[in-house]
Point group: C2
């Protein structure tokens, strides 16, 4: 039986947001009425950045609100989209007169509600640009020609998109420039994930699905969606290879390529495991002459307490690295 450190399953999300505000009052402020987390000191005269989506992926997105990253995050309930009204309020709150870039992971409800909010913002004379993040290679439908499907899901690449767009906005970029920088990262990033154990919803005592002792779920989604296949439980090196190989192939990486790598814990993976996985990712890419220019290793985009990890690769050049290296100060990402 899986037990959790919670009070009330229905209140877990709001209590966690309250905890974040209490812990980092100089960074973020939780507006409970409007259901949004915003910078404690709103930015002035810059393009605004709003993101959001279902909760259960902590520290995403509220943990990335602050200087150099988001202005506002709009969290829904666990694995449920924020409402259109909530996104609308968040979009207006992110505006300081130069328009707002909405960063949206590709899920039907999120896309719908951010789209409505973008249209409503226009009524308030706030210009918006929506950037779709759809990095999950496991859900790529190009191969079977299903062009009308929902497309790839948005997962951990959203951290890179928010960081790069945040830096571009902080440096004075226009609405178009910030949206372009975000879209470039979104378009070129791909992620693969695997789980050794599914996540357990707050208040439940069993993981969302069972895996046999010799199986891992490959291509698992951050809402606990089943993956594309089962693979055999194997060494960290072999598991990492299952993730890295399709990414390298899809992105057409090879000798001379340079990438940003995000080795992301899905909630229940502990630091020793993530460092071992990061080693494997470096060695696999290094053996193919691919330079890992920067690495982020940690627990950033989760699926509750799912035990597993994801690897995200983003091709980078000097311009992107400069934006990646720009200062950031949020509850969950700092340098």
């Amino acid at each position: 039986m899986k037990r959790q450190i919670i009070n009330d399953s229905g209140a877990a999300v709001t209590e966690a947001l309250e905890g974040m505000e209490l812990s980092f009052p100089d960074l973020v402020s939780y507006d409970t009425d409007r259901g949004l987390i915003r910078r404690a000191t709103p930015a002035r005269d810059k393009v605004g950045l709003v993101s959001g989506g279902g909760s259960g992926h902590e520290p995403l997105h509220a943990g990335f609100v602050g200087r150099g990253m988001l202005d506002v995050a709009v969290p829904g309930a666990v694995f449920a989209s924020p409402t259109a009204l909530q996104v609308h309020e968040g979009t207006l709150a992110a505006d300081s007169g130069r328009g707002v870039v909405q960063i949206v992971k590709n899920y039907t409800g999120d896309v719908l509600n951010f789209t409505i909010a973008g249209e409503l913002a226009g009524d308030h004379a706030v210009d918006t640009e929506m950037v779709l993040v759809d990095d999950d290679l496991a859900t790529d439908t190009d191969t079977d020609g299903d062009a009308d499907g929902p497309g790839r899901r948005g997962t951990a690449a959203v951290v890179a998109v928010e960081k790069i767009a945040g830096a571009r906005a902080e440096l004075g970029g226009s609405l178009t420039e910030v949206a372009d920088a975000a879209r470039r990262v979104a378009r070129t990033s791909r992620t693969m994930s695997l789980a050794l154990q599914a996540g357990t919803h707050p208040g439940e005592d069993r993981p969302a699905f069972d895996l046999a002792a010799d199986e891992v779920e490959l291509g698992v989604g951050i809402h606990g969606e089943r993956g594309i296949s089962r693979a055999r439980y194997a060494s960290a090196d072999e598991l990492s290879e299952m993730l890295v190989t399709p990414l390298v192939r899809d992105l057409g990486l090879g000798r001379g390529s340079a990438v940003l790598a995000i080795v992301n814990g899905l909630g229940g993976a502990y630091p020793l495991e993530l460092s071992i996985a990061a080693r494997a990712v470096h060695r696999l890419l290094g053996a193919q002459g691919i330079t890992v220019a920067r690495t982020l290793v940690g627990t950033y985009v989760t699926s509750l307490d799912m035990h597993g990890f994801s690897v995200t690769l983003t091709p980078v050049d000097a311009d992107l690295l400069k934006l990646w290296d720009a200062p950031v100060r949020t509850p969950a990402l700092n340098w």
Copy 2:
């Protein structure tokens, strides 16, 4: 059955350190021959800081090597002290001519080996000061008069000690001044921990000990040492109160006190849980008129993948806060 993302249980520690070096090559360098992690660019003309101890507590200590914190970390095997020779090499490597402060968690093997290394350093004309961290209130023996016992164990307060001492050293403090700052934090910090599930050693498929479905282990150690008592599994608020109440009493905190609070995941706790626990800690302290001046929330001092958390409280004044707020750049702590 608990499975892990590892290759070989015997190599897990060194592979994780390799992963850290590969991921953060601008921050840390892993000297495999001497078994130590040091800054990629050694500091010059400042008091050196070395810490270390058994592994299995990642990101501690290697994750705290970098500007504003440690110069060198000497990791042992999982839950095993580094050798005296290793600590000796680490102490010399941390010296840039102004002496070295050794930060040591209070465990017999660690104390012994750092003491030997300190004596050996003298032979090399390197002055050392050893600072003992013994914050674990669960092992306080004052109450039963066992003055000859091993004393309190060292746990998560070591992060505060390393941060404060690191800042003091970076600001040009003398060997005595840096050691004094570290000792002040060590002397006044207390920690309480609890586990919902014990950690699982790499390569094992069962946690180190079992807990009944309605029990938590209160006062558990970071090496999986059994706690001082079993308590009933309860809400996050009630669990947090079991930790905070004895801390407040022991430290004599009350209206007008100001503290630094570290809400630390022991490995398997996921971000949503830690934010909910942080909320509880703030509310419990706030209700008693105690100001939480700064909060650190995250997974910093672990017991492998133990599911649980600890709370550390350190009384602070303006001088300590200035040192806490000073810049830090390491794999695991940044601002």
